[in-house]
């Protein structure tokens, strides 16, 4: 949680609660007296706006926690209650509003992340529960601090508010410009949040969006300017890109641009269009930001007021229409912006030969459908395989290798349309391959952070990417690691491999997974575990133990690589039910506890709990094995087999 990367995760965390707002806006408007006039529907929508601070506290706590668990959300909620009502108890004039939610959400993960993975084998009392209790106590400190200093901050905010109000339409113009200029970094969420949810006060609610829905006639200043741009301007730019595409690619480009223009028009999600020219033609993007500012200026000068619950698309426009002021004027203004955007883009793309979608040089790339590239140069067999797989799975696999694989990946997050990836070194990210895999854009934020603009379906790609990225099926991973064979290769003699877990042995050929049963991972044996304590079967160095904690690899002094793979298809559990007691690089002795696993979780959610013990480098033919068939085995005590150097 440092610097830019931390702020970006904050922005991303806000997505979950913000996604509820359209529901709130919909209910609020549908139930309102000028639409259907059903009070209980209106009240239901308002409840979400009223307790937005609580939802922010939970959303931020989830996003900044290590595991995204519900316990983090609950802890955030409790810290919020304590902070919010504690400071009111100290000084009843204090009103922290949405800030209490922010502070609670930001502080909760500090302790939570420290405890959440401790003592994980008990579902009724574990580290997460301890964290909730400790956070409640720690919240007292927050109450004391903010009970004293918030009155001063409140004064400061009041004067900032006064300054923003007095800046009027100019302020709205500056905001519109700054908002668009921050899009490439993803930091616009942080700027938006203050103006939309924290600024100004009307009947006890704060923020431009909240006040609009509470009926404040002055609200909407910082939202109205987006309607002409998002509903009309950017679709105009999309049309220009279609007409400027190469003839043979025009049809594909049209399909793709229609989908992104429709998304912008209806929902006000504009990133897919913006990223198609943001990096190709930076000056054009600046023009776009300036035009957004101008739209904010004009709409405000004309006294138009309109707000949205999510973004400035047609859905919000229609719902809030009767509630706005002179909202119809946005349509003629929008049509003007449509032609301005169309004209500028149509002219500039030709003039500067900008490689917008459908204009790129023939390098075997073409757009197909909703922004997904098909790699025409790829061998036919590859695409045949792709058909049988989920398209998101295919994308994720391509991103995975383009990002530099497990060695380079640190953390995978996502928000509206982009993957937010933390890597060890952004220089190792192959931008061209990422784009070829279907990305609309790639942004290298700094040395560690990179963002890939995927589209609104990013969540599914992220889920797949997370599943792949967890060091699974050891083989490939240990292969790529430089193996210190010089050091160990000369070793001679033999060593005993003990059972890593108590249970009953099964021949490897009977494991219901061809990867193991056909010996693809190497020679070995399987154990049906009786309990969840997994120990090191032999002394050596832990060379593999990923975040998913479902498998561990040990490099022995003899140079053998022993992999213990707990259960089958357990990579999909993403670490749930597993607790690691050592970390990669540690030296362990035979019988030392490595992982404790909750077998009930594995039995319920994975294919099987059968644990395979294989020698992943047995293919090198350097070792000979003496198998014993012990039947019942005891962890760290019963010998499974003896290996010696040939």
């Amino acid at each position: 949680m440092k610097g830019l990367g931390g702020l970006q995760r904050l922005g991303k965390s806000l997505m979950l609660p913000i996604a509820v707002l359209p529901a709130a806006g919909l209910l609020n408007r549908l139930g309102a007296s000028d639409v259907l006039k059903i009070p209980f529907i209106n009240a239901g929508g308002n409840a979400i706006f009223t307790y937005l601070a609580l939802l922010f506290a939970m959303g931020i706590a989830i996003g900044l926690s290590k595991d995204g668990n519900g316990a983090a959300a609950l802890s955030g909620a409790i810290v919020y209650f304590i902070l919010n009502f504690g400071v009111i108890g100290i000084d009843k004039n204090i009103s922290m509003g949405v800030f209490a939610g922010f502070i609670a959400g930001l502080c909760t993960p500090i302790l939570y992340n420290r405890f959440c993975d401790k003592m994980n084998d008990n579902p009724y009392f574990n580290g997460r529960h301890v964290a909730i209790l400790l956070n409640a106590v720690a919240a007292i400190i927050l109450v004391l601090i903010f009970g004293v200093i918030w009155p001063f901050i409140q004064d400061g905010l009041n004067s900032i508010n006064g300054w923003i109000v007095s800046s009027g339409a100019i302020g709205a113009a500056v905001f519109g410009f700054a908002n668009r200029m921050l899009i490439p970094t993803g930091l616009h969420h942080v700027l938006n949040t203050y103006l939309w949810f924290g600024f100004g006060k009307y009947h006890g609610v704060t923020g431009d969006i909240n006040r609009f829905f509470a009926g404040d006639p002055t609200a909407g200043t910082y939202q109205v300017g987006f309607f002409p741009i998002m509903m009309f301007g950017l679709p105009g730019a999309a049309l220009a890109m279609v007409l400027r595409a190469k003839k043979e690619k025009r049809k594909e480009t049209f399909g793709m641009m229609l989908s992104v223009a429709l998304t912008a028009f209806l929902t006000g999600i504009t990133e897919p269009i913006e990223f198609s020219f943001m990096f190709l033609a930076y000056p054009l993007y600046i023009v776009h930001a300036v035009l957004t500012g101008i739209s904010g200026l004009i709409t405000n000068l004309l006294g138009i007021k309109l707000g949205f619950s999510f973004s400035a698309g047609a859905i919000d426009f229609a719902l809030n229409y009767t509630h706005g002021t002179k909202a119809w004027e946005l349509i003629p203004i929008g049509v003007v912006f449509f032609f301005i955007y169309f004209g500028i883009f149509y002219w500039a793309i030709k003039k500067f030969d900008i490689k917008t979608p459908g204009r790129e040089d023939d390098d075997g790339l073409a757009y197909a459908g909703a922004g997904l590239f098909t790699d025409q140069a790829a061998p036919a067999g590859d695409s045949a395989a792709a058909v049988t797989k989920d398209k998101y799975q295919v994308m994720a696999e391509k991103y995975f290798s383009a990002l530099g694989g497990n060695e380079n990946l640190d953390r995978i997050d996502y928000c509206t349309t982009r993957l937010r990836i933390k890597v060890k070194d952004t220089d190792k990210v192959d931008e061209a391959s990422v784009k070829r895999a279907g990305a609309r854009g790639v942004v290298k934020i700094d040395k560690q952070n990179v963002q890939i603009i995927v589209g609104t379906d990013v969540e599914f790609v992220a889920d797949h990417l997370k599943a792949i990225a967890s060091p699974q099926a050891a083989g490939t991973i240990t292969q790529t690691q430089p193996r210190p064979t010089e050091e160990h290769g000369t070793a001679s003699g033999s060593e005993q491999i003990y059972a890593p877990v108590t249970g009953e042995t099964i021949p490897l050929t009977e494991v219901p997974d061809p990867v193991f049963s056909q010996g693809m991972m190497g020679e070995g044996v399987a154990v049906k575990p009786a309990n969840g304590t997994f120990v090191a079967p032999v002394a050596g160095e832990i060379v593999q133990l990923g975040e998913t904690k479902h498998a561990y690899g040990i490099l022995t002094s003899l140079g053998e690589e022993i992999l213990v793979h707990i259960g089958l298809d357990t990579v999909g559990l993403k670490g749930e039910g597993f607790t690691a007691h050592v970390k990669q690089g540690d030296h362990v002795s035979a019988g030392q506890i490595v992982i404790t696993a909750d077998l009930s979780v594995i039995r319920e959610k994975a294919k099987s709990d059968i644990t395979s013990i294989v020698v992943t480098n047995s293919m090198e033919n350097k070792f000979a094995f003496d198998w014993s068939d012990p039947g019942k085995v005891e962890a760290g005590k019963t010998i499974l087999f003896e290996s010696r150097v040939k």
Binding site: V20, G70, G89, H129
Partner: protein
Amino acid sequence: MHQDHLFKRLAAGLVYPVLALIIYALFLLLSLTGFGGFSGVANTFGYFLPLILSVGLAVGIAHDKSGAAALAGCVGYLVFAASFTSIVNAKLAFDVTMPVKIGATLSGTMTFLFICACLTGIVAGWLYNKFYNIHLPDWLAFFGGRRFVPIITSVYGLFLGAFIAQIVLAHIK
């Protein structure tokens, strides 16, 4: 595949309100010092217990204990309570710390709300398991997946509130 251990998952969810009770007790104790910061929390925390119950059950039932389920449990209860409040007493603005009166006593009101919170929490958890990987059309894809769960829960909460206020409550009376 999540059916077998429903009771176990419910029990795991119930641990959270128990923790909240411990925290509530701590603040009640601390409020004896007379310091406003403590009594401010002690006076209001009890009203949030049904909400925490709803969140806890939603998390417990959710197959992967995701935070999105927690948020759904929270949204579900809030929308339920607001919709319920507006029907029982149209003049009262919804506020968790000022529950609308049902029957003569406050404790009766709270008991009723606890039962309702069980309902909203279970519904939220069930909806999470049903919808956590829903795919929506391209232009709505942002709202697909886990983000869809709090949205759909708000709709259920709304009608659950109306149903209980209009029909169930009327019959009890």
